[in-house]
Assembly symmetry: D2
Homo-oligomer: 285 residues x 4
Amino acid sequence: MGGHMAKNLLKKNYKLTVYDLNKSAVSNLVEAGANSASNVAEMSREVEIVISMLPSNQHVVDVYTGENGILSAAKKNVLLIDSSTVDPSVSQSIASQAKKDNLRFIDSPVSGGINAAKDGTLTFMVGGSNIDFDYAKSILEAMGSRIVYCGDIGMGQAAKLCNNMLLAISMIGTAEAFNLGQKLGLDAKVLANIVNSSSGKCWSSDLYNPVPGILPNVPSSKNYEGGFGTTLMAKDLGLAQSAAIRTQAPIPLGSLAHQIYRTIIAHGFSNKDFSVVYQFLKGKN
Amino acid sequence: MGGHMAKNLLKKNYKLTVYDLNKSAVSNLVEAGANSASNVAEMSREVEIVISMLPSNQHVVDVYTGENGILSAAKKNVLLIDSSTVDPSVSQSIASQAKKDNLRFIDSPVSGGINAAKDGTLTFMVGGSNIDFDYAKSILEAMGSRIVYCGDIGMGQAAKLCNNMLLAISMIGTAEAFNLGQKLGLDAKVLANIVNSSSGKCWSSDLYNPVPGILPNVPSSKNYEGGFGTTLMAKDLGLAQSAAIRTQAPIPLGSLAHQIYRTIIAHGFSNKDFSVVYQFLKGKN
Amino acid sequence: MGGHMAKNLLKKNYKLTVYDLNKSAVSNLVEAGANSASNVAEMSREVEIVISMLPSNQHVVDVYTGENGILSAAKKNVLLIDSSTVDPSVSQSIASQAKKDNLRFIDSPVSGGINAAKDGTLTFMVGGSNIDFDYAKSILEAMGSRIVYCGDIGMGQAAKLCNNMLLAISMIGTAEAFNLGQKLGLDAKVLANIVNSSSGKCWSSDLYNPVPGILPNVPSSKNYEGGFGTTLMAKDLGLAQSAAIRTQAPIPLGSLAHQIYRTIIAHGFSNKDFSVVYQFLKGKN
Amino acid sequence: MGGHMAKNLLKKNYKLTVYDLNKSAVSNLVEAGANSASNVAEMSREVEIVISMLPSNQHVVDVYTGENGILSAAKKNVLLIDSSTVDPSVSQSIASQAKKDNLRFIDSPVSGGINAAKDGTLTFMVGGSNIDFDYAKSILEAMGSRIVYCGDIGMGQAAKLCNNMLLAISMIGTAEAFNLGQKLGLDAKVLANIVNSSSGKCWSSDLYNPVPGILPNVPSSKNYEGGFGTTLMAKDLGLAQSAAIRTQAPIPLGSLAHQIYRTIIAHGFSNKDFSVVYQFLKGKN
């Protein structure tokens, strides 16, 4: 993701200084015109805006607040944009530490996946002050086609978690309905026509149907390759779950969806698109 | 339902003979121009097409196959159209008995609720032979705006059950996501905008949002009055559950949705629209 | 099951007339001293007490109420004992038909499995009148070591369904707790000691632990062979589910347990003991 | 809890220095013979063994690792015993910080509730080194009747979470089975007799039955007062959930149990014993 996003910034003539643990990712970008830094602190010291893309809560905490982290090195008033998907409370905690250091922080997780990152058509869901949002908008537009203001710090994360939880639930629901329908004798395409012009319609049934052969270019028609992996979905559902524990919001279907993706991963589907839940429910017979 | 449907037939100048246990329903229709019969057999004996609308599996079995039921009285070759929502296996069993009696039977459950019945804009989901479907189509068009062929006998019921199960799942999922989002600090309208232009979009979030005040004319904005009641949703989920037991199709979220509606009813929400699940999850605080 | 039960009756010198679709089962019993009948009606005509052991609702309905079924052939006042596991409403419906034919019917499902059938140590859960129970008791004691009166007709079935639903729930709960505990670093035997002297104790943790190696002679220590199969458990949970639909009792965990066993079966564990859910949750890693 | 535990230590003639934010709790103990400290650091500086009992992860982190926390003040080699119920990873993180400061730390959560605390009959589940366990044992025996070694640091917490998750699942399962049984016509006492001598037996059905009137001295027979509150159960299930997210262990029933307790609390049962789930499922009718 980060590599594609960086290339789109270079295309729009932004000056970039990059850092990644993965050296080939860095050298790729250097060839494309970026400078490289030898560590996070060096990178942070030089720039006007920091954009981070990291895999987990702990990585974000370490990279921002660790001994030679971004907060220790960035110049006064620099805007820090974290595009990682993490717990809203992590974003909130880093933002309040950043403020003490006279730095500005916004959360800005993305949706759209690897293809949207490549094409510069990501959606950014942004949480932070209005002023920081306005300032960030133009640079985010170099990487995405939709930049949505979600509210205060953490609200970008909150919006992403809620959307993805609902996505997981409706995908599993779609898989259940289509598996049941076929076992009852219904043709899957007939069912798709009915559902998609009725109250059962959802993005998963309409634009990302999990039954192979209904839609031509979705993962289910390509052996569940590509798309949005079960592991990423399980991660997002885990974040939703943690948020629900903290806020004491009941999420019965969201919790069960999380457990279903956990079980799917345990059964060897960790490299498949999340619509593979249809295959999982259908089983071997 | 049945009363509204009958009135639309009268408006289109169909000759009607009606029967109902509820005498005021009958006299209402007689005033509007229908003949009345004094029992099911008498009604069945006189007509070219029978249309039934009944509350449960058992009622349909009794009215069709009971001692003085429709099958015992209808003339040879009459077309029997059952618009009740029942188990597909009930439709299949009656159809095969009808065949022995030289009668034709199709299942034709509806969606759209009381308002669509009144306006003649119901959707009919039809299972049966192509010939019977073509024959039934014109009369069904007097009562509905969408007449969909779903396949063999029982497939109208199957399509309805699958659609409504997916509807229940996505409604509960929407309620969970919006309750969680607000507990995290998100504004519900902001979340609706994001979800409805993203992968979490579903009919429940987009056109029937369960959070009061997001959409003006939906039940959630009218104290969850009107609409599609929790009791009807629990009934349909029970039918889906029975079908899943029989076909051995796993429906984890569908089952849980059923239990959630059962619990909601036990807590005194039996007269509310099914979007009241949002209120139920939110609780008293 | 039926074969072992019949042999125990022969050992206690009961005179037996047997019928089964499986001819080798019949010839086995004939060798052991039973007479055979060539169909259900012939068998029913000759005896003072009928005992049936059948696989499903439909089989029981057919064998009792079908054209040449037990009700059509049995002599007045004969006691009919159905030891099949079926929906309580099936038992109730047959009992009321039997009554019209001056026959007496009780439901008497068993627990204990194939080994208890062989050893004559089954538990019989009986529903019916007190008088019929007293009359049946001595013959049931030839096949079982515990004959429990559960109440009116159908209550034997009700008791079995409720017990087995709770069993499935606590087995899955045990599997979840022991899998989670081990992933957290706990030794499974240490956890078993703690749970089994604490509030988490249940039959599944204490006497039938699903983790291989904790107890020596349970299915989990023998590659989940023998015992009570996942298919039988799914059947009983399906009956519990149907009963819950009819009585409108919410069973959220019971429903989910049913779906989990459905999914387990779809994944190729249909010949394993129901404690294999531990293996299923643990997955391939 | 802490107050009762302290009194039992005083009774056994231990010299105590106590600190609590709640001043009347402190003055109570001073009257009973304890010294009081004016803050955590002062308390920690003076003692050979520290015992803490705190309500949440965050409290434990703050009190141990905060600026004037226990780790900053305790003398070299002092043994720190945390009896709070927290995430095992919290215990592990504090233990490793304690080690750097040449302090010894064990986790030692309790079960048994307020009455066992009063009577000195708590169960302590201990995680830490064997040497620290042996050293701690005698002082823990002043407050409890069962001191169980569970393994390395964090394993006391792990054992408690797994036990309580299984407890919640079997309690809800018991409530479902007894509610369903009664709706089917079974007498609850008859069902209790059957279940408790069969495979459905669990601590919740046998010793803590949630149906009023089956057992005389349990919360269900006292309007669900006293006992182990729904809020505490929801807290423990939240910890189990977090542990499951981290270790990627599927806990479908555990997750659903958590959501059920969340919903129960939202419906105004936050001050009731956790067996009130029976009442919740039964509903108002």
